[in-house]
């Protein structure tokens, strides 16, 4: 079984190497998609032992993840892919517990959840935003989760083939949930720890940017399918 960690990265030269080392202990290969970074992200990732793909134009996290997925499936013949972050918010040692349900063929998709037992230092505003996200997801995707926009996931080869991300920016997280429902994939949640630091909070989507995500999803649902 080939397990591949997929890491979309944009201007992450300071943290990418640690994230790769962290993930590599628990997967066979690490694929980094450098989304047209302006810094040394690609070089750092390559020297940390990852396979690096480069977007010549910045296309957003969703697009980068899809590029990594296609490469892992077609070229590396991956059996399991793990979505991992470049900024060190995730803990690589949790990868085995995420891929375990897939190995045992109990699920096609395993979603990390910050609210299943493990402690996090999530700021209050994010907690509220996440609750709203849960409600939004239940209404629009018809899928009930304890945590909706957690980027830590594991997908079986079959699930990764079925789920094609077309939303370029951050709304891809909702699109993945949508497709799980539409393609009738078996999913399960597993507790994960997400570490918030000042640095990562400044970069990852703020609670306000959730509105932008909602806009992208609505646009996709109501306009682009005409």
């Amino acid at each position: 079984m080939i397990t591949v960690a997929l890491i979309p990265a944009y201007n992450e030269e300071t943290r990418i190497a640690d994230a790769i080392h962290d993930a590599r202990r628990f997967v066979d290969l690490v694929v980094v998609v450098d989304d047209c970074s302006k810094d040394q992200t690609a070089e750092r990732a390559r020297s940390a032992g990852a396979i690096v793909l480069r977007h010549v134009i910045n296309r957003g996290q969703g697009a980068a993840l899809q590029t990594a997925t296609e490469y892992a499936l077609t070229v590396l013949k991956a059996d399991i892919v793990v979505h991992f972050d470049a900024d060190g918010q995730m803990d690589g040692s949790e990868i085995p517990s995420l891929i375990d349900p897939i190995v045992r063929e109990e699920a096609d998709v395993v979603l990390g959840s910050r609210f299943l037992g493990k402690q996090t230092n999530m700021p209050m505003t994010r907690l509220v935003a996440n609750r709203l996200g849960r409600l939004f997801t239940s209404v629009f995707s018809g899928i009930h989760l304890t945590d909706t926009h957690n980027g830590f996931r594991a997908l079986s080869r079959h699930a990764a083939q079925e789920i094609t991300i077309t939303l370029n920016r951050m709304a891809h997280a909702s699109q993945i949930l949508d497709l799980i429902k539409v393609k009738k994939l078996r999913y399960i949640e597993r507790p994960v720890t997400i570490r918030y630091s000042q640095e990562t909070l400044a970069k990852s989507p703020s609670s306000l940017r959730a509105f932008g995500i909602v806009k992208d999803i609505l646009k996709d649902k109501f306009l682009t399918h005409v």
Binding site: V33, I51, V52, L53, R54, H55, V56, I57, R59, A63, Q66, T67, E70, Y71, T74, V75, T166, N168, K219, L223, T224, V226
Partner: protein
């Protein structure tokens, strides 16, 4: 009179522009005809303002000028929608291209 003059001048300008674009094959025949018939209608209405009133009465709108404004809003809304869909399509195509390049480059 002044307003009519400006309107006609602008419409003529639009017609010649479209013609030029069509000759360069930048717009399709379909769009060329549609676009020009719109501007020719504008010229017609500017020359004979009463004609707009007659059409307006026929479709149940009080004044010709009102009908023109309603039509303009509808046409603009439709064009914006078309542009929006096309823009979204272009974005997706760019992503596909960027992805193809990324995968091919690493394989080398």
């Amino acid at each position: 009179m002044m307003f009519q003059g400006i309107l006609i001048a602008f419409a003529l300008f639009a017609v010649t522009r479209t013609l030029k674009q069509y000759r360069k094959q930048k717009v399709s025949l379909h769009w060329f005809l549609l676009w020009n018939s719109l501007w020719i209608t504008v010229i017609g209405v500017a020359l004979w303002p009463r004609s707009a009133d007659i059409i307006a009465k026929f479709v149940g709108v009080e004044r010709g000028a009102d009908l023109a404004v309603y039509l303009a809003v509808v046409i603009l809304a439709y064009l914006v929608f078309r542009l929006f869909v096309r823009q979204e399509q272009t974005e997706k195509e760019i992503t596909k291209l960027v992805r193809k390049i990324a995968i091919e480059e690493v394989e080398k």
